[in-house]
Symmetry: C2
Subunit: 334 residues, 2 copies
């Protein structure tokens, strides 16, 4: 931290599969780790306090009581508009008013995106926001955006995503001169649909971007780009496909190992390797998913987040605020 | 086989990374397996004959000499139009003339699609062709289409893919009442872009289709549909992502095992399980990728195909011809 200013982050304590327990635990752990962070937990005060009482009271945490919760199956924009006293909306209002500089939630992705636009507000010059995710890959972490904020894009939306991804990669992920690629259905120049082809021309013309053309699906896992630009539909397919395969393999392997003594012995010998690979690809250490293009640090944590993932998300919000992420993007776009 | 009629399949001997050696070997093996199949190998006669001489001469195989080869990096439609004496085009001309009923190639996907439309010809009533791939998954094989023939689709294209996938799943893959799903960025009803939403309404209205709504990326690996409908762009991303992860994991595991004695011991104990999983997910046994919507059995084999994959592709062509696949699709569409 360059100076001694405090960073205030509003955390939606009621969002996600493990709320409020793991959210509160994550907030406590983050306060221990970052002495410059103050956290406002929004949600059911009674439930939050009964989670917090398991830990030593931290003067860095305060609770703001709210009476509503946005559920994952609600229509995102309607829920954000109607549920004025929801834990998510109240936390976002704090970013708009300046009471907090950052927001973290493991709640509904759609509602976070809707709230990012409707409550926190878009940055001037940005047409559509993008959710970016740092992906663990073989060679290096890649930052992929959009993975779900803007379903289909114009070439200009994709150009803006490239610019935002470039800033995030340089400033927050500390990559020098990030290599930017556009997700396409092949690497040859003739590949791509009209939107992707149009975006390729726009991004290529932009100065100060290290644009390296197309990336295809099988190169994502090898980490053959620092920033991968795509629309929210394709980003969702790629990300979910990856998640599904990892879960599927884990489940198959567990079943097989249960059925065979030899395999049980084998997995014992291999536990070092399995643990190493697991740690390498564990998304929890890669922090939250920033919603870029809005006027503040808005970080989504995975719906299944446990406390370490919440700490990572709070850490990502803190870095984004410290680096003036929103201003940096705004300066670069305008 | 219902009767004793012969089935003639034209095989492009020069297409793919392992041509012509593995293609010729696959043709020989297919003839041993299927006594009702006759194969015409198109390509450089000298090279083909020197591959064939390693095996017992089969009266089921004949060679047609061609002087040109379509390379993977050529513009597909231009190459098909210009290279009139290419191994691929000559084999496709045989399907058009009726000299052969089926076509198999491990060559350029783009050229196979272009040739399917320009040389073999579209079925009446079909606007765009689709490449379908039988995917090995956890619960059951799923048939996914399109994976690369039609980059972006209209809702009506996707409806036609659903109808073609339904026929292929029932007739060739022998699935009773196949469950059809549309690939989307989530399973909730509000998900999807305009095209996917439009296709959902069209497919839902169609009688005699067991349509079950959306499937998302992480459900593909579990096999939560018999037929997965998508455009060629998304199909390519999903398929390549899956391939990349499997290759990446294999490479990482190999490296780790090399570095650790314990892991080497472990993998010995686990060899049964690894072999079982490998067999289960080995694409070679799942045969080729049919190009649906054209007037004949056009089967693409993977570019890296070795002889077992060529046998599978020939087997898929034989089944498609035996079941009158093209007529079945034509009847259903019109």
């Amino acid at each position: 931290m360059a100076n001694n200013k405090k960073i205030t982050i509003a955390v939606d304590a009621m969002g996600g599969d493990n709320a409020p327990g793991e959210i509160c635990k994550g907030a406590i752990e983050a306060c221990k780790k970052f002495s410059d962070v103050e956290i406002i937990l929004t949600g059911d005060e009674f439930k939050i306090q009964s989670c917090l009482k398991n830990f030593k009271i931290s003067p860095q945490i305060r609770v703001v009581h709210t009476t509503e919760i946005i559920q994952p199956d609600e229509h995102p924009a309607l829920a954000i508009r109607k549920k004025k006293d929801s834990s998510m909306r109240v936390a976002m209002e704090m970013v708009r008013s300046g009471e907090a500089q950052g927001f973290v939630s493991a709640g509904s992705t759609g509602a976070i995106v809707a709230g990012g636009v409707l409550i926190v507000g878009r940055l001037s010059g940005i047409d559509r926001p993008a959710l970016g995710v740092p992906l663990p890959t073989i060679e290096r972490p890649s930052f992929m955006l959009d993975v779900g904020a803007t379903v289909r894009c114009t070439p200009n939306n994709l150009l803006q995503f490239a610019l935002m991804g470039n800033i995030y990669s340089r400033k927050i992920l500390k990559v020098q001169n990030p290599e930017i690629k556009l997700l396409s259905n092949g690497t040859e120049n003739i590949k791509g649909d009209d939107t992707v082809l149009g975006a390729k021309e726009l991004i290529r013309k932009r100065e100060n971007l290290n644009f390296q053309g197309y990336i295809e699906g099988n190169d994502i896992v090898w980490g053959r780009a620092d920033v991968i630009v795509c629309d929210g539909f394709n980003g969702n397919i790629a990300l979910k496909m990856g998640e599904g395969i990892m879960q599927g393999l884990k489940s198959l392997l567990t079943d097989e190992v249960k059925q065979s003594l030899m395999a049980r012995l084998g997995i014992l010998f291999m536990s070092g390797v399995v643990k190493k690979l697991w740690t390498r690809f564990n998304y929890e250490k890669y922090g939250g998913t920033p919603l870029l293009g809005v006027n503040g640090a808005v970080i989504k944590a995975h719906g299944r987040s446990k406390s370490p993932a919440i700490v990572s998300a709070i850490s990502a919000a803190r870095d984004f605020i410290d680096e003036d992420g929103a201003e940096q993007i705004s300066d670069d776009i305008n």
